[in-house]
């Protein structure tokens, strides 16, 4: 356990119990986290990437005291999230985002006032902080309108304002830019980066590689409840530095031909995406130029178009990590 860490997890495990069946009910256990270790320094902007169901939201909910871990320890600024939950809650903010999570019939201002009360913020400080956040997040002028009339982006900004009401030392953002237009998303990323620069520790989960690459100091990739990689975006990318990416379009590529590509020595992964009538094939391999040149022979009888060879990106590293 790192005493100076803002967020710390040691061998964090979470198993959900559920039942299956109607008449004869069978108890089923679903393992969401399988011994996660994380240590995030104060003022760091940390990104957690992973496919759906990997355990990202489970980790966030444990850190924000909404879930009890099955075993292991999680601490926020040295405080245990289980034993010291009331103190932890005063020091953190969290944003789950989405269409829900706000009082639709109340105005944005009333939503913030209500949560300021719940966070026990004194009235005068609450008033100043709310107006500052409305200004900072571009909601000034719309604060007296009912939330049900807000756009998706405005709701997300209101969520963020709510998460920042208590001036948290640690902020958790669960996919904060999902469903937001590119301009809005960029503004949000700038804001989040600014928070980290001013000393707030930010823990962010996201699907967007660009977002993680652009703003995170460090990232971790989680797959099926386990951390499979951790480091700076650059260090994660080095995992695929010795590889290249070959991409091409094809039509009617049979499964056994795809399998034969996979069996090639230099090939690490083959991903096939169906787009309308054609297939876009992405191959991670160690000798991309050679492979690109031999595609015509390998896929004889099939029309291969738009063949390209490129350097791997963070997304390619992520795909390799979660699909291997």
């Amino acid at each position: 356990m790192n005493p100076s860490a803002a967020i710390d997890a040691i061998q964090l495990r979470k198993t959900y119990a559920t039942t299956r069946g109607f008449i004869k009910r069978e108890r089923v256990e679903q393992v969401a986290l399988r011994g996660v270790d994380l240590s995030i320094g104060r003022g760091e902007l940390f990104g957690l990437l992973g496919p759906n169901g990997a355990g990202k939201t489970t980790i966030v909910k444990i850190f924000t005291t909404l879930l009890l871990p099955s075993s292991g320890t999680a601490r926020i600024q040295g405080l245990d999230v289980v034993k010291d939950q009331w103190t932890v809650r005063k020091r953190i903010g969290f944003v789950f985002g989405g269409e829900r999570g706000l009082y639709m019939r109340l105005s944005g201002l009333d939503n913030l006032r209500y949560f300021a009360d719940l966070y026990q913020i004194p009235p005068e400080l609450s008033r100043r902080r709310i107006h500052g956040l409305l200004d900072q997040l571009g909601l000034k002028g719309r604060e007296n309108d009912k939330v049900e009339g807000y756009s998706r982006g405005m709701k997300q900004r209101l969520h963020l304002a709510r998460g920042l009401l208590n001036d948290p030392e640690v902020l958790f953002l669960d996919e904060p830019t999902i469903g937001i237009d590119p301009v809005g998303a960029r503004e949000l990323r700038v804001l989040v980066r600014g928070l980290a620069t001013s000393g707030t520790t930010v823990f962010l989960t996201t699907h967007y590689m660009l977002e993680a690459d652009e703003i995170c100091d460090r990232i971790a990739v989680i797959r099926k409840g386990e951390i499979v990689a951790e480091g700076t975006p650059r260090s994660i990318k080095t995992r695929v530095e010795d590889r290249g990416i070959v991409e091409f379009e094809c039509e009617g590529l049979e499964p056994d031909r795809i399998d034969s590509l996979r069996r090639l020595e230099a090939v690490a992964t083959v991903i096939v995406e169906e787009r309308d009538l054609s297939q876009v094939v992405t191959i991670h391999c160690s000798r991309p130029s050679e492979l690109a040149a031999s595609l015509g022979t390998l896929l004889q009888g099939r029309q291969v178009r738009k063949v390209s060879v490129r350097e791997p990106t963070l997304e390619d590293a992520y795909v390799l990590l979660v699909s291997s």
Binding site: Y16, K61, L68, K90, L102
Partner: protein, 246 residues
């Protein structure tokens, strides 16, 4: 904020205005032809049903509403305990519930020219306060169940109507079968209602202070149960992680 939402939400007007008025009118039509001893039930019955409905239904449903709007997780994870938040919501419900008496008493007076002539004011007032406290105790002891179990809404909604009879809102509990009277005896609002009607001039005894005392004692037991349930809710919700599920 809970009160503000109620003012905005049209459905709330059904609870404190429309339903109590309908029940009061039915009660007045039926009971106005009977003896004067039943007039208090006609005048107060509709208001009591509306008061109870809002205090219990709305107070408990607030948790369900939070779940449906996706805010239950937000409020569970804030530094203010859920129990304190629920107390505020139930207090808001009780305040609105008091409004139920306005249309019902007015309807009785203006249309049927009925009023409570034989009210003993101090016992009446004390009984009313104790009744309010007992409604609060029931509502807050049931509210955690809404947080814990998503299906509790269906089960507990049915309980609301049974309480009308078991607590003697529209007719004396003494008219129920003996085994139901035994059930009624563990309900704090039943004792407070009995005291209230006795103070309104009903000829069923005048042990106001005993009945109020019983109502307060049973309410305190409910509050203890509520305290235990809220602790259980907090732990169970954090184990199962089902707060976000609708």
């Amino acid at each position: 904020m809970s009160s503000k939402v109620r003012v905005i939400t049209p459905f709330t007007y059904l609870g404190w205005l429309v339903y109590p008025l309908i029940i009061a009118i039915l009660g007045l039509l039926i009971l106005s032809q009977g003896s004067a001893s039943k007039s208090a039930y006609a005048i107060l019955g509709g208001g009591l049903i509306g008061f109870w409905g809002l205090a219990y239904q709305e107070g408990g449903n607030e948790i369900q509403n939070e779940r449906w709007s996706g805010t239950l997780e937000q409020i569970m994870a804030c530094p203010t305990p859920l129990a304190v938040i629920v107390v505020g919501k139930i207090a808001s419900s009780l305040t609105f519930g008091l409004l139920s008496f306005i249309p019902t008493v007015l309807a009785a007076y203006l249309v049927w020219h009925m009023s409570l002539r034989n009210v003993d004011p101090i016992p009446f007032l004390v009984s009313f306060v104790v009744l309010t406290f007992s409604f609060f105790a029931v509502a807050i002891s049931l509210a955690p169940l809404y947080a814990m179990w998503r299906w509790s809404n269906a089960l507990i909604n049915g309980f609301e109507i049974g309480m009308f009879a078991l607590c003697g809102f529209m007719f004396p509990v003494a008219q129920l079968p003996h085994w139901l009277q035994a059930v009624s005896s563990v309900l704090a609002p039943a004792w407070a209602t009995r005291s209230l009607y006795a103070a309104s001039g009903q000829p069923y005894g005048h042990d106001y202070w005993l009945w109020c005392g019983l109502a307060i004692a049973i309410s305190c037991v409910y509050l203890l149960i509520s305290w235990a349930l809220f602790r259980l809710v907090d732990k169970r919700a954090r184990i199962t992680g089902q707060l976000a599920f609708v």
